[in-house]
């Protein structure tokens, strides 16, 4: 979905937060457009939750500003908050209320009234698959359903910006798939920021990824860009009669050869050169018995590990 021309729903400039002398978030600059799903990725303690709390007005930033749909959050908190839906790490659920009562309360808090209120609650319940449990008490629901009620609470007032803090934490694989499908479905009308430390989640639902480490953005790109830039600079090859690593290294464009086992090698080459064909030809000529040739592209995981363990990007 092309989103470059869509209106900006969130813009933060130099957003920072410190507790005493400890700086938790350093000048975060973020811009999210309508329809975009941005993944905020980082190890625990990277400042993801703190950033989200500042964006939702739960925590006052030490420096910088937050603008939601052009409204300054710090100057007009009430108007800005009306456009945000927030699911914190721990869903803020009143266990003693039924799902219907709770969602009605959440909708009322966002100034929905009468007919539009009933409709909004119905729509939110339908989108989150809660139609059958409307009369159940939230405290008696399973964790997966409670999480869905948390998401329903965040979308009930049709916010422009949806902020989900680890929406799939603690769910089983089926529930995770459901929540992800829901997020994909939601992207149309809302901008979504979701934080996670689960990497495949970002690759499966996000358009863009921002990797946070020790309060700084250390990587920022679209998922497509990430996959493109990492693709085709690496091969995994296997031989029945393996040659010496030096023999492979002599091929044009190969920068590094790593032996993975006695029969397998990881070949890193300069991007844009088709080393695969040269390798296959060399293998046929020399009788190495090529039995595997797989293009390897750096997954988000490799980028993540490299960035958050202090290594420089090559």
């Amino acid at each position: 979905m092309p989103t470059e021309t869509n209106p900006v729903t969130l813009r933060t400039a130099g957003l920072g937060r410190s507790y005493g002398a400890r700086v938790v978030v350093h000048g975060l600059d973020l811009e999210v457009r309508r329809g975009e799903v941005v993944g905020l990725l980082g190890p625990n303690g990277a400042g993801k939750t703190t950033s989200m709390q500042m964006i939702t007005g739960n925590l006052a930033p030490s420096t910088g500003s937050v603008e939601v749909c052009g409204i300054d959050l710090l100057e007009n908190p009430v108007q800005a908050k009306a456009r945000i839906g927030y699911l914190p790490e721990v869903p803020p659920l009143y266990r003693e209320l039924s799902v219907d009562e709770y969602l009605t309360f959440a909708a009322r808090l966002h100034r929905l009234r009468a007919a539009s209120l009933a409709r909004a609650v119905q729509v939110a319940k339908a989108r989150c698959g809660l139609e059958d449990v409307g009369r159940r008490l939230i405290g008696s629901l399973s964790k997966g359903y409670q999480q869905r009620v948390g998401v329903a609470q965040a979308i009930v007032h049709g916010p422009d910006l949806l902020i989900l803090d680890e929406p799939t934490a603690g769910l089983d694989p089926n529930q995770i798939r459901e929540i992800r499908a829901l997020i994909r479905e939601l992207r149309g009308g809302h901008s979504v920021i979701l934080s996670t430390h689960i990497l495949p989640e970002v690759e499966s639902v996000c358009d863009r990824v921002e990797i946070l480490h020790e309060g700084r953005v250390v990587y920022s790109d679209s998922i497509d860009g990430l996959q493109r830039s990492r693709q085709g600079s690496e091969l995994t090859v296997g031989f029945q009669f393996p040659p010496a690593a030096e023999d492979i290294a002599q091929l044009l464009g190969v920068t590094r050869v790593e032996a993975l086992s006695a029969h397998r090698f990881r070949v890193v080459h300069r991007p844009g050169i088709d080393v695969g064909a040269a390798l296959a030809e060399a293998a046929a000529r020399n009788g190495w018995g090529l039995n595997m040739l797989a293009p390897g592209h750096a997954s988000l995981e490799e980028v993540f590990v490299r960035l958050t363990q202090g290594e420089e990007e090559p």
């Binding site: 009143y94 966002h110 100034r111 609470q153």
Partner: protein, 247 residues
């Protein structure tokens, strides 16, 4: 918006057994005192008739009933207010209110409204008992009204104080015990005062409440209660607003 938050608070109160137990125990104790006084009155009725300017039935029965109700409120209100903010903070549900487009003042006033609606119910039930005397006699409506008004103002003051204690902590039990301690301290503020007209006696809630019990509407006492409540509500709102700054 204040109403929305207030009604939710009331709904939660009645979803827990605490509210019902408070209502039941308060009613039981007040009924006990009421019956005791009624018994005494019936025994002394003949003698009272011979005394000039003897206390009427309202003064004889209703006043002690409302005095007991005041003590019950002193103990029950901190238990009811303890969870208002502290429990929401502990259960992390406060985020829902803090992320919603409502101000800290609306959150606090909403919660205050919720607890006051409940306390008005407690007071109304307590007032119903002396009203049953209408079946067999005449009541001093003015005295009764002043007693009820005094109780409402007292409840408002205790609730504001308890709410403030609740916003200071994430532990409902801590809020309850400090609320009870503070309420008792303000109740008996003039106990340690060396002279009756001193500064401390102006802070004593008991002193302000006494005139209502006698059926006197002293604007100074009424305003004192209102000011007391307003100050603690303002402190509570400020504290909740500062929540975003601290960490």
């Amino acid at each position: 918006m204040i109403g929305v938050i207030g009604l939710r608070e009331l709904r939660t109160l009645f979803a827990s057994p605490l509210a019902w137990v408070v209502l039941a125990v308060t009613q039981l104790i007040i009924a006990w005192v009421f019956l005791g006084r009624l018994d005494t009155y019936l025994q002394l009725q003949a003698q009272l008739r011979q005394i000039a300017n003897a206390p009427g039935i309202t003064e004889f029965i209703a006043a002690p009933v409302f005095g007991t109700a005041a003590i019950m409120l002193l103990m029950a209100v901190p238990l009811l207010t303890m969870r208002l903010v502290a429990e929401e903070r502990r259960n992390r549900t406060l985020t829902l209110l803090m992320s919603a487009p409502v101000s800290a003042a609306q959150i606090i006033l909403g919660k205050y409204l919720g607890i006051m609606l409940f306390l008005l119910l407690v007071i109304a039930l307590a007032a119903l008992m002396p009203l049953t005397l209408l079946a067999g006699g005449r009541l001093d409506a003015g005295l009764l009204a002043m007693n009820v008004a005094g109780l409402v103002l007292l409840a408002a003051a205790f609730a504001a104080l308890g709410l403030f204690m609740s916003v200071l902590t994430a532990q409902p039990a801590v809020a309850a015990i400090s609320g009870l301690g503070a309420a008792l301290a303000f109740w008996l503020m003039d106990l340690a005062a060396p002279d009756a007209g001193g500064f401390l006696s102006h802070l004593s809630l008991l002193r302000h409440y006494e005139s209502f019990g006698k059926g006197i509407l002293d604007s100074y006492d009424a305003v004192s209660f209102v000011l007391f409540s307003a100050v603690f509500l303002a402190l509570t709102i400020r504290r909740l607003d500062a929540e975003r700054l601290g960490g």
